[in-house]
Symmetry: C2
Subunit: 341 residues, 2 copies
């Protein structure tokens, strides 16, 4: 009974069962003021005609879309996907649809991507973009003042918008605490690109941790990578050259830690006997490296869920103030720092 090629509309349903389109609309929106007999009749018609309502038309008429936009950058980076999963899950729970706009590269002008979301009448936007260089500033510049509520995830604290994030500095400090408690004192650091806010926060954490324990953290003990395993290996080579007597390494992410472990092993250094090493992210492979890697686990999916809830609070009450939601990261200790037995 389908009319191929033509969309089944609310009018078709109305005509099919002899009511007005308004009544069909009421049934679809579960409004109470419809007689039971009518409701049944309409529901049958909807089923018979395989009617799929148009979200576009609904949004246009209703002035809200029940849809939130997500600006994503660097989907290839660890974690982005998990955050997105949290966003999608929680949105489904709350009856929201998620629209995704991807920035192929972090440093690209976000104007078009954000427009794509606004053009589709999203009720609000979650910015899941690493705070690199002026990326977040550029986003803020594009946002029409206050037209749509916005929440940042993993970035952009105290920029005038709400944000959900973990305290990278404190988490890294805890890694240093852990190593210091094990008696390590000559601790080197492999950083991510310092243009990344996350990287510089973690670096801060390493330094304040070292300070706390009265340990040296001169620039000679720092090497900057680009998050890749290869860059971690390169950084390790440089550090071994500059600090031959180091007894521990903290890496700003797990991939760089894996690269560094490779180099340590090549140089005949035993992990953790000679050099202890810890990463950040707790990627799925971390427990399966040789030896299993101590790391910091961020509640990535939970951050996504929290971002949705925070955004919704803004959508429902535009007068609500800026909120900063800090979540705790967790140190996961494995053999790369404590050894096996």
């Amino acid at each position: 009974m389908l009319v191929p090629g033509r969309r089944v509309t609310i009018k078709d349903v109305a005509a099919y069962c002899g009511v007005s389109t308004q009544t069909v609309s009421r049934v679809m929106n579960h409004r109470p003021d419809v007689a039971l007999a009518t409701r049944l009749k309409v529901e049958q018609a909807i089923a018979d005609l395989v009617y799929t309502p148009s979200a576009l038309a609904r949004t246009l008429g209703a002035r809200h879309s029940d849809t939130i936009g997500v600006l994503l950058a660097g989907m290839a980076y660890v974690g982005t996907t998990q955050t997105l999963t949290g966003i999608v899950d929680e949105s489904a729970n709350l009856g929201l649809t998620v629209l995704i706009a991807e920035l192929p590269e972090v440093e690209i002008d976000p104007r078009r991507a954000i427009s794509a979301l606004i053009e589709r009448h999203v009720d609000g936007i979650i910015m899941s973009v690493p705070d690199v260089g002026r990326a977040v500033d550029r986003i803020k510049a594009v946002l029409r003042d206050g037209a749509e509520p916005v929440v940042f995830v993993k970035a952009g604290v105290s920029n005038g918008y709400s944000s959900v994030l973990v305290d990278n500095a404190t988490a890294t400090e805890e890694v240093v605490d852990h190593l210091a408690s094990l008696g390590r004192s000559r601790i080197a650091y492999i950083s991510g690109p310092l243009s990344w806010h996350e990287a510089s926060d973690r670096w801060d954490g390493w330094r304040s941790g070292m300070d706390k324990h009265g340990l040296a953290h001169d620039p000679g003990r720092l090497a900057e990578g680009d998050w890749s395993a290869q860059s971690g290996a390169d950084a390790m080579v440089a550090l071994l050259d500059r600090v031959p007597d180091l007894d521990a390494v903290v890496a700003a992410n797990d991939r760089m830690a894996l690269g560094a472990m490779h180099v340590l092993r090549k140089n005949g250094l035993r992990i953790p006997d000679d050099v202890a090493i810890a990463g950040f992210d707790d990627i799925p492979e971390a427990p399966w490296s040789t030896p299993p890697l101590t790391s910091v686990r961020q509640p990535l999916a939970e951050m996504g869920r929290e971002a949705v809830r925070t955004l919704l609070s803004h959508v429902e009450d535009p007068a609500v103030g800026v909120q900063t939601v800090p979540l705790r990261a967790e140190l996961v200790v494995r053999e790369s720092t404590i050894g096996s037995s």
Copy 2:
């Protein structure tokens, strides 16, 4: 000059510069039949008012959205993200927007997710869902007959829809060829869940490869995992018990291979001297395991791009026939099979 809270519409722009909405529409769509002076005037007005056209309204009027939908399942699995990146990139190149619907779990009823896409008037849909159990059949059952063009990625060959995929069986056969050429003969296999089409294809490849070289592939040499590293470790334990003299292992993905390597090492077996091992996927960590892991690299991003192009060919010419686009996977040989020097 912004009117806060109210959307700037085409009417505002038209009134602002004293032309009809139609003329504004023409300018926005880069139609040639507009006088240069008028065009300039309108463009200035658009800039002045910070006008963002409504994609919703445009779609409703134009009867096409220039938007394609992607049904995604198992974003946590390796590769899904890369395929999505390819889809997003190529879509941007072709001036298309991508709408994503996520299935939280593979086995969930896809009806709602597909509806969400159709409700938003997508011009076509890419199904990026692993072929598990009856998942693909269920999708086909939901599709309104031929209303929207559909392309499957990494699944669903010869189901009446176009599809883009790699030949998993042949790729796995090449892994066996490689090991056989190295003189390995007692080759065990760690499979993914056999309810997954991809897993059973790879298993087929292992068996036909073993057959080709006259090697035994009895069920005792097969262990089934769930793609996780832990399950690979468990499988390896079982295999060592059943086939104590094995000299090589093929795993259906890299994570299970990592788990298996862990167990081999725990048992004092040297890789690859005693046991060679190969995985599948070539995850970023594969070159950095101990030893670096031989694996099979799929052109995941390219599959995404190809899927977009194939879908577009259907959108542009509804009469075009079903297409099957096979892409080649590539064996990446590393030390886990050939040793270091």
